[in-house]
Symmetry: C3
Subunit: 394 residues, 3 copies
């Protein structure tokens, strides 16, 4: 289909994305998610044809990373740049819990000429997503009081609950791999815990995956060693989604059993819910020795599950011994980035370039979130871009 | 008045701002200050009407922060971005005194394709403003020798003497609150010291306020506990300004007495002149224990004046019990950001959103300083922008 | 000659720069080097005439500095900005040796919407240039596999072997000083070691200078105290170049002898090859005490050659007592930036502004490297820019 027709088809989607923050995929309708996927694809294809989709002549996109990041940082910078915005970093002391007055004031102080704020805050359970909403409320107040000329949109670049730019990039990868969202119906996707020598990895990726993939009629298998639970509310939500969308949802505790006949696998480490709860309390109290003890306990426990590695044995029980392997990267690759890890080196190598392609959708997903936040009628603006025909490279 | 007429009215102002650094408000004529206020307003209104005032297709604006900053940093970034410039940070070791050869060379090395350098250097008494002039001299030499294709303009983002982007933003806030600069004549403004649990706050804000507001016929009341003097030359200058411009100037040592019938109040902490002198000597000598001792002495002295809090008791003696409250933010709010501080929480809350609006002028003030530095005839360029009609958001 | 004619003359140069990384000047043909010099000059002159040579409407230029830098950092930022690209910094732990999987993956992750990667990696002998090629291979794979829409070009911003943006800026300075590249034939240039109180300065500048200047028929004199050898292969290459291009090449061990009748002098400190070899081994093994010992030995040895200062005595034996003084800056100036150093203060002062002019070419050299990498027919694009006539400043 040519670009023009694809743009026209956007008009069939009912979207309330305009002016709304993007904090959790499950706050968005199916049409809205489809809209973002398709706008992301269109922005990618426009750029691929050397048509510049720049829509801002000036403006700032604030990045507020309360945890380290390379990939998402570059994705955010790329998305902002593609649309014409300049990134300004809000540097804070790493992973502090600052709320109340400071958040309210700072949110406004950085936003006088800003169009978006991208926030990563995934350290504290119960805090990251809450912080984003606190910023949002401050921006609402600022906008309504005439402090801010526009209400900057907030984009969740990973919180304690969800990692929507990741899961949406993964979904676009699946859509393009299988040809359509419809083709995903009935596919078995295994979101599996995997062993890692590091500790304290957030739960937002697995939660994001089960929360989103359950919307599109897939059969979700969530596999993890006993005790490595995710936030119960998110699991319940995924189960409910599956029931409503013609898919299934199953939790199991054997990696190999889970992998059987899988179409898609996502083996990835995370820290258990109850550990994250303890860790958050310790962090709040700045209890360093307590944190050190917890880490040791947790690592010792992890070490009991080193057989949760995705390797040839696992791969060979999947559909045609060739399930599509997904990962948010970087993966802990046995013998490469660590001694024993999430995935066997040869298996990873087989799918490595496809994980790069998967990652490559993220900048466009973020750009599409910005685009649909800002423009009530994305199709009209995309037509304008196409007709204008500005080249990205002269 | 429509934009076109307002732009035309700029032609009535006699301005020598073109090609001149902005280092102290008192080096600028009344017409020049008016020009900056009005260009700032026009840039804000153009952007508000989605007309992009971008005038640079490329170019760098260097930010040289020798002290921490969030607000001014974002204001500078916003101003640069609005006009089409990209900020490049010159990172140095914090608050060093580096002069001579290094300054001369570095000033040129960062300026080959730069249009502006914004400098914050407010730690050392007698050094910050001097450093800016040293940079300026180096740029003059570079430009005259053919090293630099244009002479980058310097903007004082706070020094030891003045904080012109702050005071000019405050003035624009007053102008807009009261309707005109003329309406400020005869208004009583109280620049008052206030208690803070922190030590070593620069004197540049109070000095900037009395140095600027005394130009517009206001009645200035400078209030502080005995011993908390500002730089004598600046106080003399403010007194002289007041005499020349039909206002009055009074120094007093009781917060409550000072506040009586005030139209506008600016309660804010600062460190005394003689302490700043000692501190600068100690810093120059890297005398850590001396600095620690001085801090203790100073904090102990501050603690004698905890009653210098702006609270309901103070507010109730002001004009209509409702003087306009100004602050450069962040304020030390009792019970919020500190136990006891500059301002009572309820009183602050009453004026909080107005302090945000006050802060929101700063990016436009900086942009106007850039604009009037670069263009000899700002009215012509603004007309060009209006006629061109480029949208900020497509 | 007017711009149009100069642009047309580019068509006489045979260039294979398109799509190729710029890693070593000796991998480029004479025509290609001339092309870069002339495109750099044209970009400078276009900008000087307020014609914007911006060719990217959006896009990132990644800077990957594995060693400190101010000058080159600003040059890269200026070049990217001039062409319309936004710099994104890849922050890594300083001067690590990270290879293999991480490099391969990271190179792709930062490149989805990137056009160039500028790399400085000059700490480890045998590693810096190798790392750049490793990144290049990863980008090739990513591009060929459809991960990347364009293959970002790599620009060597200084490695262990060469510093091509420096040497090319120096060459453009010589070309402009003497009127043409032809005028350089037969000129005597002395690349001389000089004393510095600091240790471990890379060999890439002297190597870059002898490797490049030997291409243009100059008489090269390489002077250093016994033991301060450069990488033997680079010296052999320079000797071979000289023989092929009608110049001469001589190594000597007396600064004053070397300076006799010199047209151009480049007195600059570096660490000896064998020390750099030892240092690299120690760094690889993270042997801190070994590094400390090596530093002491090296500094003690340096101190034997304090008479290798470029001063009036040296200058007075050069051609007309006035050889053109070159330096990559900052120089170690005796009595100014150090007690005893590379150059006498008065002598430096005489040539100081000319070293600034020399440095000022670097942003344009980098921009020309980008331009010729991206456009197969630079003349066509430059004509387009000229005809389009976009102003840099409105």
């Amino acid at each position: 289909m040519n670009l023009e027709n694809r743009i026209n088809n956007l008009r069939n989607l009912k979207s309330g994305l305009h002016g709304k923050d993007f904090l959790l995929t499950w706050e968005k309708s199916e049409d809205e998610l489809k809209m973002i996927l398709e706008v992301a694809s269109l922005l990618k294809d426009l750029r691929g044809q050397n048509i510049s989709p720049r829509v801002f002549d000036s403006g700032l996109a604030i990045s507020n990373f309360r945890d380290n990041s390379t990939r998402t940082r570059f994705s955010f910078a790329s998305a902002a740049n593609l649309l014409g915005l300049t990134v300004a970093d809000l540097d804070e002391e790493k992973s502090q819990i600052a709320h109340g007055e400071t958040v309210r004031e700072t949110a406004n102080m950085i936003s006088f000429l800003s169009d978006f704020i991208g926030i990563r805050d995934d350290i504290f359970l119960g805090e990251g997503n809450k912080y984003m909403r606190e910023v949002g409320n401050a921006l609402d107040e600022g906008y309504e009081s005439g402090v801010l000329p526009v209400r900057p949109g907030i984009i969740n670049l990973q919180c304690d609950i969800d990692h929507p730019t990741q899961s949406m990039a993964d979904l676009l990868h699946l859509k393009n791999t299988y040809g359509s969202l419809d083709a995903l119906k009935g596919k078995k996707i295994v979101m599996s815990w995997a062993y890692s020598p590091s500790y304290g990895k957030p739960m937002s990726v697995p939660q994001g995956i089960i929360g989103l993939m359950s919307r599109f009629g897939m059969n979700i298998e969530l596999a993890y060693p006993e005790g490595y639970d995710l936030i119960p509310e998110v699991v319940d939500l995924a189960r409910k989604n599956s029931a409503e969308n013609g898919g299934s949802f199953n939790v199991s505790h054997s990696m190999k059993e889970a992998m059987k006949e899988a179409d898609i696998v996502y083996p990835k480490s995370w820290a258990p819910f109850h550990i994250m709860q303890q860790r958050t309390e310790l962090l709040k109290n700045a209890d360093r020795s307590g944190l050190k003890d917890l880490e040791l306990v947790c690592l010792a426990n992890n070490a009991k599950f080193k057989d949760w590695e995705y390797n040839a044995e696992m791969m060979n029980v999947t559909k045609n011994k060739d399930a599509l392997y997904l990962h948010c990267l970087p993966a802990d690759i046995s013998g490469v980035s660590c001694r024993e890890g999430e995935v066997n080196a040869e298996v990873f190598e087989k799918y490595r370039l496809r994980t790069y392609i998967e990652a490559g959708y993220k900048p466009y997903i973020i750009a599409a979130m910005m685009f649909t936040n800002r423009f009530e009628k994305p199709a009209d603006v995309l037509h304008g871009i196409l007709n204008r025909g500005n080249k990205r490279v002269f």
